[in-house]
């Protein structure tokens, strides 16, 4: 097994992809690497399996001349139960065309050979090769050495003067062109034949000129005398023999150690040449040069292959749309070029001349180097470059040698897309891309496009195996965070050159409805949240709301916070006034203590990733915070601020305050003012909102009941979406027209509607942590989990959390409209894609393995068995066993007779029946080779009687057969 050039290149490409993946931590590149690597692994395995049961023998034609190329017949047999594909015999003159050998069948192919030496030649290096399945590796199987006899060259010479010849033979032969004498036969007209010899009747019948040949048989006898046994003399003698035999003379041969009695005819010529071939050292086999692999001429070209590549090009073009930084409009502008290119390739031209392309390439290079690179950043400039290359290739003819180059460019373009996108649409394109590559590789390594129905199922199975292997590879390839340091782009700061044009999800400290347009989800990590004590393993992991900033003033579009000054008491100290609405937190060392009453709640450790905000994230209202350096303040909305932003990240512990307790509880006269402000409403033209609230809270008097009703209505009847039509959707639009939006709309709607119902509310931004990492025992909080919700002030409960946003992944019962349902599915898939593929890193990896651990697996299995499914399992197993039994039964119940057992015993001893042999022929072969095993012949006859005559063997016959079998086995 050897790698081909394509194979070496693919290995390099896989390495390059892995390096890129490791140094960027991009999981789509890991995905691409897993696919490439699993294709390589499968290629090795499938290649070996492919030639598993293959053997071959060579048959030369009856006459072979020295140095004259001839076609030998290679019979390839396949003993395995699956077809051997793309097999080609290889000899010193190159390879024969590849072919498929059917399962348990055989195939005969012609292989060009030439024998360099006169006499016996030993061909040792013949072999079978296969590029199956993808052309990455050549699997080889050597053939046993063959001895072939090369006759000396017998040129159409004249009788040499030194040879004795009957003079009449020379004059009367005349090349067989005389018109008298016996009719010899018709043959095709050769240049130089006399036109008078043309047989017009036959010519008319055959459709091309035919000459009638007459032979005159001269009376005469020639003895050719061989001077020596060197090749020159032998070839001279051979020419003479041929000349005289063809002239019709009775020809014989004498020489050192050689004597052939004179006779006439072609058979005699054969005998003469054979004698000459074996004369002297011709009788000892000489080694002929071994097999030489055909030079790699590039992909096996075909119309179908080229069409497939155009399809691949279209696929890559589609994939380019996934790069957010490339504008969709400019990509669409290139759309007409695609069918135009297809049309040109189907027609075969006319393509723009090379000089035009040279000039264009130069201009493009200059633009990229001088402007684009600095303006758009490295990644985008690369995208431009590859886009240009794609167009360049689309509008140039593809010579056979450049077919692979074109696919390489396609690969690089797809590689680039993998590096620059996180869209879930990548996945279907990725699957299509793999199918394209699989088909392309199969075709380029020689599969017959017209017989696609034959090999496509095998390719499908390979792709399925590749998917399984690739998934495992993707999961287990270690993710090393430290490697990112080696990323040359990051090291040189070039990644900062990249411009991000559209907004991504993430935490913000201001809330303006419709500010961002469509949001892309960012998988960037925001923090790790470690609850202490951690939830019990196997239990339900609740979502945790990480509180950031709160806002209480809404002007119809944006939420703001207007400072509210108040007097407060420092913990254990004196009364102070706020400055700018901010109250200082009392600290002792690193420990900050908030004024609150009651027993503190659970403790959380927060590991904050770098973030450009100075908000101290808490869970609920804080009671104590440990680890934030410098001063800290809180304001009338109970938000906590540090003195500087966490641009280098941070780590601190938060002790949650008891329910209902707030830092501002102890402030003098603040509550009433804050609640009054939490009831301020924006305009409600037409009173639509008020009407809506009235409808929703009809019959309800309790504030809590009203708030619950509003939140649940919003959850049930409105849809969550990150999409936007580009317009600034207002709250009214959201409530009455689009009925879909992101969490800010839901939180705002809940807050405003509750205010209209008389409940004071404020809007809180933060994170909803839901991704529990079992391995690290922490919540993995990403920017995509940034969230907004509402806090409502309920009498006797204080500030209560209301999250009116419907869950992204669940299907709400009220959302029964089809489109809405589809949207939710899409959102769920998107969430899955981001959390399972894009955000897969070393922690998720270890977490996945931990979850997969055997103890858990068995635990699950036990639960399964105990549950209702457990009752069904025996039935399923039973049905499976029954099905298997029914399928296997005929074979199990079929009586194998003594012959079949003997055949198996012989096969173990190396005597295998060839697929095309009947038992009787096989027995004959065995008896010839190993006469002591002749008993097989009798067994074969008995087998025939039982198998084909329908007769049942009597006890006597069975006893005899058993005795024969025992005898046979003992002699084996």
């Amino acid at each position: 097994m050897r790698p081909t050039r394509l194979g070496v290149f693919t290995v390099l490409l896989a390495g390059f992809t892995l390096f890129a993946a490791g140094s960027t931590g991009n999981n789509l590149l890991y995905l691409l690497f897993a696919a490439t690597a699993s294709a390589l692994v499968l290629s090795v395995v499938a290649g070996r399996l492919n030639l598993r049961g293959v053997s071959a023998r060579v048959e030369a034609p009856s006459q072979v001349f020295r140095d004259a190329p001839f076609s030998a017949r290679v019979f390839v047999e396949n003993a395995s139960s699956s077809a051997a594909r793309l097999v080609r015999p290889v000899g010193p003159l190159g390879a024969a065309a590849a072919f498929d050998v059917p399962p348990r069948g055989a195939f005969a192919a012609d292989l060009r050979l030439a024998l360099p030496a006169r006499g016996l030649n030993r061909l040792e290096g013949l072999r079978l090769e296969s590029l199956y399945p993808f052309g990455f590796f050549t699997t080889r199987r050597a053939l046993p050495p063959v001895d072939l006899l090369a006759l000396p060259k017998a040129g159409p010479g004249r009788a040499a003067g030194s040879l004795e010849a009957d003079p009449r033979a020379r004059t009367a032969g005349g090349g067989g062109k005389a018109r008298e004498g016996e009719f010899f036969g018709p043959r095709h007209y050769d240049r130089g034949d006399d036109a008078r010899l043309i047989h017009w009747k036959l010519t008319a019948k055959a459709g091309r000129p035919v000459v009638a040949e007459y032979a005159t048989a001269p009376e005469g006898r020639v003895m050719v005398r061989l001077d020596g046994v060197d090749d020159a003399s032998i070839e001279r003698a051979a020419s003479a023999c041929r000349f005289h035999v063809e002239a019709g003379a009775e020809t014989g041969l004498v020489g050192p150690g050689v004597e052939v009695a004179p006779a006439r005819g072609r058979r005699q010529l054969d005998a003469l040449l054979r004698a000459l071939a074996l004369a002297g050292d011709g009788a000892t086999p000489r080694a002929a040069p071994g097999a030489r692999s055909a030079p790699d001429e590039g992909a096996a070209d075909s119309r179908e292959l080229r069409r497939l590549m155009l399809f691949g090009g279209a696929l890559v073009y589609l994939a380019l749309f996934l790069i957010d930084d490339l504008s969709t409009a400019s990509l669409l502008a290139f759309l007409p070029l695609v069918p135009l290119g297809f049309w040109l390739h189907e027609r075969g031209g006319p393509f723009p001349p090379r000089s035009v392309w040279n000039a264009l390439s130069l201009a493009m290079l200059g633009y990229l180097m001088l402007f684009d690179w600095r303006r758009s950043g490295v990644a985008l400039a690369n995208a431009h470059l590859l886009g240009y290359l794609l167009i360049n290739r689309l509008f140039n003819p593809w010579p056979r040698k450049e077919l692979r180059q074109v696919v390489l460019i396609l690969y690089l373009a797809f590689f680039l897309v993998s590096g620059l996108t996180i869209s879930p649409w990548y996945f279907p394109l990725f699957v299509a891309w793999l199918v394209f590559l699989g088909a392309w590789l199969a075709l380029q390594s020689g599969a017959d496009p017209r017989a696609a129905r034959d090999w496509a199922p095998a390719l499908g199975r390979l792709l399925a195996a590749g998917a399984a292997l690739g998934t495992v590879l993707f999961l287990v390839v270690p993710r090393v965070e430290g490697l990112r340091r080696f990323n040359p782009f990051v090291a040189s700061g070039m990644d900062k050159l990249q411009i991000r044009s559209s907004a991504v999800t993430g935490f913000t400290d201001q809330v303006t409805l419709g500010n961002f347009g469509t949001l892309r989800r960012s998988p960037a990590r925001a923090m790790r949240l470690r609850p202490e004590p951690a939830p019990a393993p196997g239990g339900v992991i609740p979502d945790v709301y990480v509180r950031g900033a709160a806002f209480d003033v809404f002007d119809g579009r944006a939420w703001t916070k207007v400072p509210l000054d108040f007097r407060y008491r420092l913990v254990g100290g004196r009364m102070l006034s706020t400055r700018g609405g901010r109250a200082l937190v009392r600290r002792a060392g690193d420990m900050m203590t908030f004024p609150s009453t009651g027993a503190p709640g659970p403790l959380y450790q927060v590991e904050l990733y770098p973030m450009q905000v100075s908000i101290v994230f808490t869970v609920g209202a804080p009671s104590e915070i440990d680890g934030v350096s410098g001063a800290a303040w809180y304001d009338h909305t109970d938000s906590v601020y540090a003195s500087g932003s966490f641009s280098a990240g941070g780590r601190y512990r938060v002790v949650t305050a008891p329910p209902g307790a707030e830092p501002t509880d102890g402030a003098e006269g603040l509550r009433a003012r804050a609640l009054a402000r939490a009831l301020i409403l924006p305009d409600d033209p037409g009173g639509k909102e008020a009407a809506l609230v009235a409808r929703w809270t009809k019959g309800l008097t309790e504030p809590k009941a009203k708030a619950d009703a509003i939140a649940s209505r919003l959850r049930r009847e409105y849809a969550y979406s990150l999409r936007s039509d580009g317009m600034h959707t207002s709250l009214t639009d959201f409530l009455f027209t689009t009925r879909r939006g992101n969490c800010e709309y839901f939180a705002t709607a809940a807050a405003i509607l509750m205010r209209r119902a008389g409940i004071p509310t404020r809007l809180v931004t933060g994170f909803r942590a839901s991704d529990w990492n079992e391995w690290g025992r922490f919540y993995d909080v990403r920017q995509s989990e940034a969230h907004a919700w509402t806090e409502a002030w309920l009498p006797e409960r204080g500030w209560t959390l209301y999250d009116a946003t419907p869950s992204e992944s669940g299907l709400s019962a009220a959302a029964d409209e089809f489109s809405r349902r589809l949207d939710r599915w899409a959102d769920m898939l998107q969430t899955r894609w981001y959390s399972s593929v894009i955000g897969y890193d070393q922690y998720s990896q270890r977490d996945a393995f931990l979850r997969l651990s055997f103890a858990r697996f068995f635990e699950r299995l036990r639960l399964l068995l105990e549950s209702g499914l457990g009752g069904a399992l025996p039935w399923v197993l039973g049905a499976g066993l029954l099905g298997w039994g029914l399928r296997a039964a005929p074979a199990a119940f079929k009586k194998t007779d003594e012959y079949e057992r003997a055949e198996r015993a012989l096969a173990r001893a190396g005597l295998k029946r060839r697929p095309w042999q009947t038992p009787r022929e096989f027995a004959g072969d065995v008896a010839r080779e190993r006469p002591e095993l002749a008993a097989l012949t009798d067994l074969a006859e008995a087998h025939y009687r039982r198998r084909y005559s329908g007769a049942v063997a009597d006890a006597d016959e069975r006893r005899r057969a058993a005795a024969l079998l025992a005898q046979l086995k003992s002699r084996l």
Partner: protein, 315 residues
């Protein structure tokens, strides 16, 4: 079936009797008898002078039925074979004079020397088993065996049989030159009375009919039929083959295999039967890429069949 086994006559005397006259080629004799048993017709193709006619005569004599011989020439007319209606002035009516085809064994010597018109008249009679002249249908005798001989097509002055008509022959047989010893024996025994004319019948017509009936009763396993069909399919897909085996060819293959089983005294077919008869039954039905004048050379076609046998899995 067991009764048929005991009561039916043996073929061996017939083979022995013919082989005594037709020296040194037991295989050719066997194939000929096989054709008779399978109710087929035989085409012998070889160079002149190796005893094609003798084989036909010997077979006819050996089972004591009428034997006629027609030497085909290029001026032979269909009526020369089938017969014609002659006006009888006394009776003032047409009187049918049967032609030489009304015999049990008909030797059509050098069939490719006659014009296609005459050839087709004979071949039609062969496949229909009856002759229609002037609106009257005359049944041919039963058993009816045509042994046609022809020179290899590459010889001069011939009208090669088109493949559709070749298909009607069950087998094409090559005889080949006798060995040195056999040729010597032929020369020596020329004087002995063991020539065709002196032979005595060893089987009656009824016995031959019984043998033919036995062919129909031969048990053929599904696996063997499957093998024959796979051979035919492989011939259609084979490399270098322009036209493969027709379904009629597959039928012929199965039938000849049964006849071979009868010949070997069995009441069932084995895979080797198919292999034995494959070359003579299939070779003339193949059209190879290398065929000259639309007909494959004998040895090339037989090689192609051998290649087939070496590629298709045997049961």
């Amino acid at each position: 079936m067991s009764t048929a086994k005991t009561s039916a006559p043996s073929v061996q005397p017939l083979i022995d009797s013919v082989a005594r006259v037709f020296v040194g080629k037991p295989d050719a004799v066997k194939l000929t008898v096989m054709t008779l048993l399978a109710r087929g017709h035989l085409l012998i193709e070889d160079v002149p002078g190796i005893g094609k006619t003798l084989l036909g005569v010997a077979l006819a004599r050996a089972f004591g039925v009428t034997f006629r011989r027609i030497q085909f020439t290029n001026d032979l007319l269909p009526s020369d074979i089938l017969g014609l209606s002659v006006f009888d002035p006394k009776e003032a009516s047409f009187d049918f004079k049967p032609g030489p085809i009304f015999s049990h064994v008909l030797l059509a010597d050098e069939i490719n020397r006659s014009t296609p018109k005459t050839q087709s008249a004979l071949l039609e009679a062969m496949s229909e088993g009856q002759v229609t002249i002037d609106g009257k249908t005359h049944a041919l005798p039963d058993p009816f065996l045509v042994i046609a001989t022809q020179n290899p097509v590459e010889y001069h002055g011939t009208f090669p049989l088109p493949e559709a008509q070749l298909d009607r022959f069950l087998m094409r047989v090559r005889i080949g030159y006798p060995s040195h010893a056999d040729e010597l024996r032929i020369l020596r025994e020329r004087d002995r009375p063991a020539t065709a004319e002196d032979m005595r019948p060893v089987l009656s017509r009824e016995e031959v009919l019984a043998l033919q009936a036995r062919v129909d009763e031969i048990r053929v396993d599904e696996a063997i039929l499957d093998y024959a069909v796979r051979l035919a399919e492989a011939s259609r897909a084979g490399k270098g083959v322009r036209l493969g085996l027709s379904p009629r060819g597959t039928l012929a293959l199965a039938r000849a295999a049964r006849a071979n089983a009868v010949l070997e005294g069995r009441d069932h077919c084995v895979p080797d039967d198919v292999k034995t008869v494959a070359a003579p039954v299939a070779a003339h039905r193949l059209l190879l890429d290398t065929s000259l004048y639309g007909v494959a050379r004998v040895d090339e076609a037989e090689q192609a069949v051998m290649d087939l046998l070496h590629t298709v899995r045997a049961p």
